[in-house]
């Protein structure tokens, strides 16, 4: 129904379904009487409509309501038992028994977290390019090495023979 001046397809559907405004229906009929394409679509859509009318559904089973109410009762019973067990769980007696266990679990978790965070402090940090991160022992070692290099330099300088004075040559 894309041809010029042809009504949109929802007009065709509404016309076939019998829910088109009577004035619009008359306009559509007049158009379809002159437009071969719309006339063909109108006939084909009406045929589909009639075919679908032939499909009568099977009757609903006699035990439908009984089965539904059984399911509703079972659902209510399940919800009730869930609420009851929740209520039982929140009573003081339960917490009295569970409290030592909860404290033990909390202690274990706290200990683990402390240990984990201490381990993290000992590991080297991720460094940005161009920077070097050293531990305290590595820094001492480096300082000692630098001192040794300087000492060796001084010794070399002291033991080297004196250069001849160029003016004397």
């Amino acid at each position: 129904m894309n041809a010029t001046n042809c009504p949109t397809e929802d007009v065709l559907l509404d016309y076939t379904a019998g829910c088109l405004d009577p004035a619009q229906a008359v306009l559509f009929e007049r158009h379809a009487d002159k437009c071969a394409r719309c006339a063909e679509l109108r006939a084909a859509q009406a045929a589909v409509w009639r075919s679908l009318d032939e499909w009568k559904p099977a009757p609903v089973g006699g035990g439908f309501n009984r089965e539904l109410w059984r399911k509703i009762d079972a659902d209510a019973e399940q919800a009730y038992s869930w609420r009851r067990s929740l209520a039982a769980a929140t009573q003081f007696g339960f917490w009295k028994r569970a409290a030592p266990l909860a404290v033990a679990v909390a202690l274990v978790v706290t200990g683990f977290m402390l240990d984990h965070s201490a381990g993290r402090r000992g590991t080297p940090q991720t460094n940005t390019p161009g920077t070097v991160v050293l531990t305290a022992s590595e820094a001492d070692q480096l300082e000692r090495a630098l001192d040794d290099i300087q000492l060796l330099g001084d010794v070399d300088a002291a033991s080297a023979p004196a250069k001849p004075d160029s003016n004397l040559m």
Binding site: V48, L52, K56, A58, K71
Partner: protein, 226 residues
């Protein structure tokens, strides 16, 4: 006395906030009013809703999933969900739109989950009408033909036509199928179908145009042969 019995007493018995909600939907939807009573614990109102909508709902699901047993189970699940959510019910949409929204959701899920199993069952399993292959079931539309004493040949032609109609609907993508069934058999408006399928009205029109286009092509030979 009549005025007291029919108007004043129910008003006095109902809580004020239910009255407010009911006044808001009174012009809109009788079903919503019943549902508000269900929210207040009135199971009789639920029974009224069940009696009123059971058949259309089961028939919609029968045509949607094309499995008699599954359609009844799905319909029961729809009513169960409605009953379960009664305490939080708000009449924001038409009751039937809400009901078909739940039904479409369940049916689309069922079709997605059972696609392969269904394909295998259709080859040798029970038919939609509950009868075994090659077996008749007396309480079906076929009875209409039998009442007019159709010949075996006429009956065969009718069964073949019906099967082709079922197949042509089954060949549609699930969402197009749901849209067509709501449009054709439930006479729902585009806006209601859009709400039920959780899409826009223009998307619904597009679904319907494509679906009917397919059906016109698939069922054309039935028309010319009729």
């Amino acid at each position: 006395m009549n005025v007291l019995a029919w108007y004043v007493l129910p008003k006095l018995l109902m809580s004020e906030w239910v009255q407010k909600d009911m006044e808001a939907v009174s012009a809109l939807d009788l079903d919503a009013q019943l549902m508000l009573r269900v929210r207040e614990g009135d199971d009789d109102s639920f029974r009224v809703l069940l009696e009123k909508h059971r058949n259309p709902l089961v028939h919609f699901l029968q045509r949607m999933v094309q499995d008699a047993g599954a359609s009844e189970e799905l319909a029961q699940e729809v009513f169960l969900r409605i009953y379960r959510s009664r305490s939080s019910y708000e009449p924001s949409a038409k009751f039937t739109t809400w009901m078909f929204r739940i039904a479409s959701h369940l049916a689309l899920n069922w079709l997605r989950d059972e696609r392969h199993e269904r394909a295998a069952q259709r080859l040798d399993g029970p038919r939609l009408d509950g009868a075994r292959p090659g077996e008749e079931r007396s309480d079906l539309p076929a009875r209409e033909i039998r009442d007019h004493n159709p010949s075996v040949e006429q009956r065969l032609v009718y069964e073949t036509r019906l099967q082709e109609i079922r197949d042509s609907i089954a060949s549609l993508p699930a969402k197009q199928r749901a849209a067509v069934l709501m449009h054709k058999y439930e006479e729902m408006e585009y806006s209601q179908i859009a709400q039920a399928l959780e899409c826009s009205e223009s998307a619904v029109k597009s679904l319907l145009f494509r679906a009917y286009e397919t059906l016109r092509a698939r069922l054309a030979h039935l028309v010319t042969g009729a």
